[in-house]
Amino acid sequence: EPEVTQTPSHQVTQMGQEVILRCVPISNHLYFYWYRQILGQKVEFLVSFYNNEISEKSEIFDDQFSVERPDGSNFTLKIRSTKLEDSAMYFCASSRTTTGGREKLFFGSGTQLSVL
């Protein structure tokens, strides 16, 4: 079964450093997402991306965050200057549909970001 892949599985960085989290969504999917889960808390929506642009973003997704689809397969999340509170598990997800949202999300296994 096709799957969403994320690299690295664990990223440790110093506060103030830039990090790039990488994802390869399922190839025929059209919508791409980043979610995060701070330990013990709910899974929070960060951003959705469709047709090479952001379709929606949450208030968490401030100017320190950016997303990019640099080629036909990768989808990246960049955090320009990491803060301690950015430490979380970051999940990439993708879905097929263009309207209605009745398709399910397929998630990657996550990147655990630890900001020291």
């Binding site: 969403v4 994320q6 599985s9 919508y31 997402y33 979610y35 808390q41 709910k42 899974v43 929070e44 929506f45 959705s48 469709y50 379709s55 929606e56 999940f91 997800a93 879905s95 549909t97 309207t99 209605g100 949202g101 009745r102 399910k104 999300l105 397929f106 998630f107 990657g108 296994s109 996550g110």
Partner: protein
């Protein structure tokens, strides 16, 4: 802004018995609901969904019930198996590829 709530952080059930996981939502625009299962060190995987035009959807041992008037849904697992031990997330969508997740319930099925 918790539009989807799972008030039980954990649940422990004996193997063979029924597991009932609950979820409440506040937004009446939600019309599609999903349950995801998550094992440690893995991403959430889709389990079962239900549209608001239904009140029940069944898939093998898993049944989701939707009570729109109460804005409540539940996932029943029967019989529960040790391999079902995981964190279960409820999610809701108003369409337009937007999904809101609860904080999860950790299910432990004891042999």
């Amino acid at each position: 802004d918790q539009q989807v709530k799972q008030n039980s952080p954990s649940l422990s059930v004996q193997e063979g018995r029924i597991s009932i996981l609950n979820c409440d939502y506040t937004n009446s625009m939600f019309d599609y609901f999903l349950w995801y299962k998550k094992y440690p060190a893995e991403g959430p995987t889709f389990l079962i969904s239900i549209s608001s035009i239904k009140d029940k959807n069944e898939d093998g041992r898993f049944t989701v019930f939707l009570n729109k008037s109460a804005k409540h849904l539940s996932l029943h697992i029967v019989p529960s198996q040790p391999g079902d031990s995981a964190v279960y997330f409820c999610a809701a969508s108003p369409g337009f590829n937007k999904f809101y997740f609860g904080s999860g319930t950790k299910l432990n099925v004891k042999p």
